[in-house]
């Protein structure tokens, strides 16, 4: 897609401590342009903290974050957003006093500074994005009238409206039922198809396996494994991190019994 060899986003030894505890501890990885990269890990592994470091909400205690070859470490959140890194929240945070359309328009009005937009254009972009995520019919409604899945759509819509080159999705599928997850997967694919790189945190393994070519497993702030989702999920260390030592052992012996038969 791009002529430059450098990755779109690169983390080098990124560290964030809270009161001496390393929530994110020396994390290094790269995000390539145009990919869908999944980040998984047990609760408390540091996934959301990592997104907060990238988007500038947390000031990192060590390491370097590079966007298209330039360091963005320590940059204020609004400037990171204007560079073209969009972000959703795990717990949706719409602007409650506004309509669905206005929420998306605020994203379009600010966001990536590649193109300056006036209010009129912003509302046009908002309409396009709402169509993309399937919220067009509810554009005029107040946010309070939306269901949870729709609020998650709106959260994505607002981030997409900022015209990001990289979109950070923090558990957009959490709390959705199977049908809703399928719809949400379609939405992420549709957004990706417009040329946006996607980095998503997810607990639902089906999602990771379904749309990610590559996944990274975090545990206690460290990168535990990295690679194709199917391979990574079979990694014994990963199973141990999720299900504990005993279960991993049992699985090992079961597999040992299974293979000869």
């Amino acid at each position: 897609m791009s002529t430059t060899a450098e990755p779109q986003l690169e983390l080098r030894g990124v560290t964030k401590r809270f009161g001496g505890v390393g929530a994110v501890d020396g994390v290094t990885f790269q995000v390539e342009r145009g990919e869908i990269l999944g980040i998984i890990g047990p609760n408390g592994a540091g996934k959301t903290t990592l997104l907060n470091c990238i988007s500038g909400v947390h000031r990192v205690d060590g390491g370097d974050i590079r966007w298209e070859g330039r360091s963005i470490t320590g940059m204020a959140p609004h400037r990171v957003a204007r560079l073209g890194i969009g972000r959703t929240f795990q717990i949706v945070r719409p602007f409650g006093s506004m309509t669905v359309r206005e929420n998306a328009a605020v994203g379009a009005l600010f966001g990536s500074s590649a193109a300056r937009r006036g209010p009129k254009q912003a509302f046009e972009i908002a309409d396009q994005v709402l169509e993309l995520v399937g919220l067009k019919a509810k554009a005029g409604q107040p946010v309070s009238a939306l269901t949870i899945p729709d609020r998650k759509r709106l959260e994505v819509a607002r981030a997409v409206a900022t015209r990001p080159q990289l979109l950070l999705l923090d558990e957009v599928m959490a709390g959705l039922n199977n049908v809703e997850i399928d719809e949400a997967l379609e939405m992420v694919r549709a957004v990706h198809a417009t040329g946006v790189t996607v980095l998503l945190i997810e607990h639902v393994m089906r999602v990771i396996v379904g749309i990610c070519r590559r996944a990274i497993v975090l545990d206690f702030g460290h990168v535990l494994a990295e690679g194709e989702p199917e391979v990574v999920l079979r990694d014994e260390r990963v199973i141990k991190a999720y299900l504990g030592e005993r279960y991993a052992k049992r699985l090992r012996t079961e597999r040992g019994q299974d293979s000869p038969s």
């Binding site: 909400v57 204020a76 959140p77 719409p94 602007f95 409650g96 605020v106 600010f110 900022t162």
Partner: protein
């Protein structure tokens, strides 16, 4: 009956000033969650700018209002950017202390520059008016009401139709989310406070035409702004307009009670505020969140 209509007219006209005093205070409170105790001092700064331009250059006081607005916007922007932003996430008490301190500083600077004499702005048409069917309408009061309504309409337009207005709505709803769609918080905060100060400045210009001002005269306006915003309901310009007019009416009727002075009128106005808080905490025009 004529006396009643006269009171209603006078009350509404007086309400114009309260609308002007209230809108800026309500904006800062609603968006920044700061109960701005320096608001009255900013009102008086506006009053002195109008007085200075009127006495030194003979400018019509209504023409000085845009100057008040621009000067106070710059002052307010600088105050927020340089001082108040540092404690924006601190508990409410800190913003009380800081804005109270700012109030003292501003009042004392005014005392140094202008002294403690009472100053008034008296254009040739002041004290004049017209009469319809026995009802007296003073020119200055009528134009003040017009100016206050215009100010509120302008503010409402700015908040609902412009880029910075949408940013202000967004930071009021969720600061962190606003930041992550690319809104510069500190700038948006400073513009909000600047707009609040600009409204205070215009209110000060209007007040200087109606009564004499002195550097320490601002404090009652902070209180009145507080009552007006609570009466109308926090969060909307139109609600503050209703609150301001209601305050003017209540005060006019309070003063008309035989044997009552302005002190008694204030007591009635504050009593009404308490009543509103008890029976309709979201204000006359407010929406429950």
């Amino acid at each position: 009956m004529a006396a009643f209509v006269q009171l209603v007219i006078l009350g509404l006209l007086a309400g114009g000033v309260y609308v002007a005093v209230g809108v800026g205070f309500g904006l800062v409170w609603g968006v920044l969650n700061i109960v701005n105790l320096a608001h009255g001092a900013l009102v008086i700064v506006g009053g002195y700018i109008t007085w200075q331009l009127f006495t030194a250059f003979g400018l019509d006081p209504f023409l000085t209002l845009p100057v008040d607005a621009v000067a106070l916007f710059v002052l307010g922007y600088a105050l927020q950017r340089g001082v108040i932003n540092r404690i924006i996430r601190a508990p409410l008490l800190f913003t009380f202390l800081l804005t109270f301190g700012l109030n003292l500083v501003i009042v004392n600077i005014l005392l140094l520059i202008f002294g403690s004499d009472f100053r008034s702005v008296t254009p040739t048409y002041s004290g004049q008016g017209f009469e319809i069917g026995g009802i007296v309408v003073p020119y200055v009061r009528l134009t003040s009401l017009g100016a206050a309504i215009l100010l509120s309409a302008g503010l409402a337009f700015l908040l609902s139709r412009t880029r910075i207005g949408l940013a202000i709505h967004a930071i009021a709803a969720d600061r962190d989310a606003a930041q992550l769609v690319g809104i510069d918080l500190r700038h948006a905060y400073a513009v909000t406070y600047g707009l609040g100060a600009a409204c205070a400045g215009v209110a000060g210009g209007l007040i200087a035409m109606i009564q004499a001002i002195t550097p320490t005269a601002g404090e009652p306006y902070t209180l009145q702004a507080f009552v007006v915003v609570i009466l109308g309901g926090l969060g909307r310009v139109s609600a503050t307009v209703v609150g301001g007019l209601a305050f003017g009416l209540v005060e006019a009727f309070g003063q008309s009670i035989p044997g009552s002075g302005s002190v008694f009128a204030n007591a009635i106005a504050f009593g009404l505020m308490v009543l509103v808080l008890v029976t309709r905490p979201q204000g006359l025009m407010g929406r429950l969140r």
